[in-house]
Amino acid sequence: MKMEKVEQLRHYYLRHDKKFPHVWCPGCGNGIILGSLIRAIDKIGLSKDEVVLASGIGCAGRMPVYADFNTLHTTHGRALTFATGIKLARPELNLITVMGDGDATGIGGNHFIHAARRNLNLTAIIINNQIYGMTGGQYSPTTPYGAKAATATGGHLEHAFSIADLAVTAGASFVARGTVYHVPHLDKLIEQGIRKNGFAVIEIMAYCHTQFGRRNKMGDAVTMMEKLRDRAVAVKDPGAAGSPGTAVAAGASDTPGAAASAGALDSDSLDTLDGKFAIGVLTDVEKPDYIAEYARLRAASRLNAQNAGNAGK
């Protein structure tokens, strides 16, 4: 992307004259994700007024503050419930939620699985940095076994779960995983997620060099970024179009690791500090979203009422 265009997007979509400098640590990947998000929205061609960006609490939750959409910075864990209310009241709006791993799957875990099951047409962006960053490095539901955290000084005793797997099991229509290293790939995944008619989850593997990296001697931001590059393995897109391979080709330097072929990975090793994990579109199924089901039910009951009325005549 040309610098002029970047500048243009930045001025159009960001509250550039008001809210900067941002709160994120130098080297944080959250800004990269914000960039991906506005590029995806720009590519789709949505106007700012058609988009509602809702978030919970935490570093990820701050994202709406910088973006010039209709925005909601809600309470910890509740972004999806808030978004559900908006979507049910105003189905024509495009709802995007931005959450962290603790926000979405710790305190908000129940809402997350049920939002997936409900299959409303929402996009859930979950930034997984494997730690509660803003509050000082307490372990989260995705902190790997043995990792050190402010509340696990002798190494974490519990095991991490996979957010993407959880989303698939709970019934999300679209589940993808990207990283803050593979940026053009991430742009594409977010775009696909927003375009998807149904509940779409994009888990973004990120890092927190301040709260997680330092405690676990993982090096600086650049080192942690390189680690993401090496750990990620591309899967073949289950849908024909937009496979990570093709998406990534546009920005050659971002090609996911060498083992970029389907089936190269038996399972994700997210419960370790250096195991491999899959990136790309993990699930993409067609099923009627909740609003469509609701409309169908209403149409059916109107028809029944009509028939009953006719029968009475």
Partner: protein, 571 residues
């Protein structure tokens, strides 16, 4: 004047006792009678001891009676449990197998009348015969319920009803429960609705413009939502069963933010989970109505019984300081009018508003004349984007604390909300001066709420004995007062259908003038009396509390007034 009749149908869950009660109620209301129906039930689908109580007579009634005139016992346990409540003239309708050796006992050979699954219909017909209802009136109620869907069932039911009536004609003892001919007094052209409190709340909400309700099932609030679902299609109202109450309140706030007048309905335990969301509604200044149908706590408590124990909880729920209003209907009619009013109030003040009711009112049914819709304007959410001052500032600091509220996606203006402290634009801020201004702005809205306070209602005499009550206690308290006045005593009642904010100028002089002030509350500690003292300095020294899980009745109140008078000395 003929004395009213209290009927109690008792048995296990699953024996069809509610069906008997509902059909009898329907037939009586259609015949122009006054009834008051209330239910007690256990938190289980089968078994347990459940009752359906119905008071019939000249009425109108707003409470049950403790004593029983006609006991329909579908099992032996019912006879044993309710024997102490039987009046001298009582009839007991029971199966021959367990009918007691008591005067008034009618041993019915149900086995000879028909198969067991139809015994409840048989009992219904027997009751109809006792009360002197016309055959056709009961049969129409049965037909309307079974409908044309199952003609074979209708036939069986008709047959057992006929047999039962014949048996009754031959075997009923002398009794004085035949209802006086009502055709002369009843205006049969006057349509009436047999409604319980929760149904009236749902109808009031819809009349008030409700477009969204999220909930998680919890007795005794769920039937509010079941009634809403019945009308959701016609009224264009979206109902969502959430994964928990935390989700429910946040969905409602989201919907309200987007422009749908929204409410949640729950009980104490569920409301505990909603406290966080209430605080969010207050901070984002999003209108939301919360219906809390109280039941005895703490914890699971007594899920299907009643109490007025959550007043202080609702008054203080949610962290941080912000204004709110709490309405507490005292009758089926108030359930309707106050719910519509509460919805308007939350929109107008952009502050959380609560409707505090309880299991007693929720499950009590009475015929009411169709509600007056004039004067109820459905809520129109948000402000006109053409009329807001530009640049649009969602949290503009204004003298009355009210800021323009635009809905997202309807104009070029961008709509923002933040649960963090924010500036006038709605963006997170930690500026100390701004924080002070925003707290003041939000609290300023209490003045708006005060302008719209529903004043307490004084009925009867001033200066003598004054019974002070709130919410659902109204019916029994007024009945007790009426009985005392019949005995020649001077008695007044003061009922609060809004318990927050309180305006002392509306009632303090009444408390000060009365000789004897007695607070009546369905809780153990006198929460409302304490609130009055906090706000006015006036101490209501004498309290009547009930917290056994059952509602107040006139009998209970009269007995307590008598004993307490004896204890405190004749004043």
């Amino acid at each position: 004047m003929q004395q009213d009749i209290q009927i109690l149908i008792g048995g296990e869950a699953g024996q069809g006792l509610v069906t008997i009660g509902q059909l009898l109620g329907k037939a009586l209301v259609r015949a122009g009678r006054e009834i008051f129906a209330s239910q007690t039930y256990h938190s289980r689908v089968r078994g347990g001891h459940n009752t359906f109580a119905m008071r019939v007579g000249a009425g109108p009634f707003a409470a049950p009676r403790e004593s029983i005139d006609i006991l329909v016992a579908l099992n032996a346990e019912t006879v044993e449990l309710h024997r102490p409540q039987l009046t001298k003239r009582a009839l007991i309708i029971a199966d021959a197998a367990f009918a007691p050796e008591l005067p008034g006992a009618i041993a019915v050979p149900f086995g000879e009348l028909g198969p067991e699954k139809l015994w409840n219909t048989a009992a219904l017909a027997l009751l109809g015969q006792v009360l002197g209802l016309q055959e056709q009136q009961l049969y129409q109620a049965v037909e309307a319920t079974l409908g044309q869907k199952k003609p074979e069932l209708l036939e069986e039911n008709q047959e057992i009803m006929k047999k039962s009536r014949e048996w009754a004609k031959a075997h009923l003892p002398e009794h004085d429960f035949v209802l006086a001919d009502a055709t002369a007094t009843a205006d049969s052209t006057q349509k009436r609705l047999l409604l319980n409190g929760n149904q009236a709340i749902a109808l009031g909400a819809l009349a008030g413009g409700l477009k969204f309700c999220a909930f998680y099932p919890m007795t005794p609030s769920t039937s509010v939502v079941l009634e809403l679902i019945t009308h959701a299609e016609t009224m264009g109202c979206v109902i969502e069963q959430a994964e928990d109450e935390i989700a429910a309140i946040n969905m409602a706030i989201g919907a309200a933010f987007a422009g749908a007048p929204a409410m949640v309905a729950t009980s104490g335990g569920g409301f505990a989970l909603m406290a966080e969301g209430i605080s969010l509604a207050a901070m984002t200044e999003t209108p939301v109505l919360t219906v809390v149908a109280q039941r005895p706590g703490p914890a699971t408590g007594m899920p299907t019984r009643t109490e007025q124990g959550d007043l202080e909880f609702v008054l203080h729920a949610g962290h941080g300081e912000f204004p709110r209003a709490i309405l507490a209907p005292g009758s089926i009619e108030e359930c309707f009018t106050l719910t519509a009013r509460a919805l308007a109030l939350t929109e107008r003040s952009q502050s959380p508003v609560f409707l505090l009711t309880d299991q007693f009112l929720a499950d009590s049914a009475r015929p009411v004349t169709p509600f007056e819709l004039n004067g109820i304007t459905p809520v129109r959410p948000g402000d006109d984007p053409e009329k807001v001052a530009t640049p649009y500032r969602r949290y503009r600091l204004t003298p009355d604390g009210l800021s323009p509220r635009l809905l997202p996606g309807l104009s070029e203006h961008l709509v923002v909300a933040d649960s963090d402290e924010h500036d006038e634009d709605g963006h997170l801020s930690e500026d100390y001066g701004l924080r002070t201004a925003m707290v003041k702005k939000r609290l300023q809205k209490l003045e708006l709420l005060k302008e719209e306070v529903t004043a307490p209602t004084l009925e009867g005499d001033q200066d003598a004995l004054l019974l002070v009550c709130w919410g659902s206690s109204l019916g029994p308290v007024r009945e007790a007062a009426a009985i005392l006045r019949d005995r020649g005593l001077k008695v007044g009642t003061l009922h609060f259908s809004q318990v927050w904010p309180l305006l002392p100028e509306q009632f303090l002089d009444l408390l000060q003038k009365a000789d004897r002030v007695v607070g009546v509350e369905g809780n153990a500690t006198g929460q409302f009396a304490r609130l009055i003292r906090r706000e006015t300095g006036f101490t209501i020294a004498e309290l009547i509390n009930r917290y056994d899980g059952l509602p107040f009745t006139a009998d209970f109140l009269l007995e307590r007034l008598e004993t307490q008078r004896a204890e405190t000395g004749d004043r």
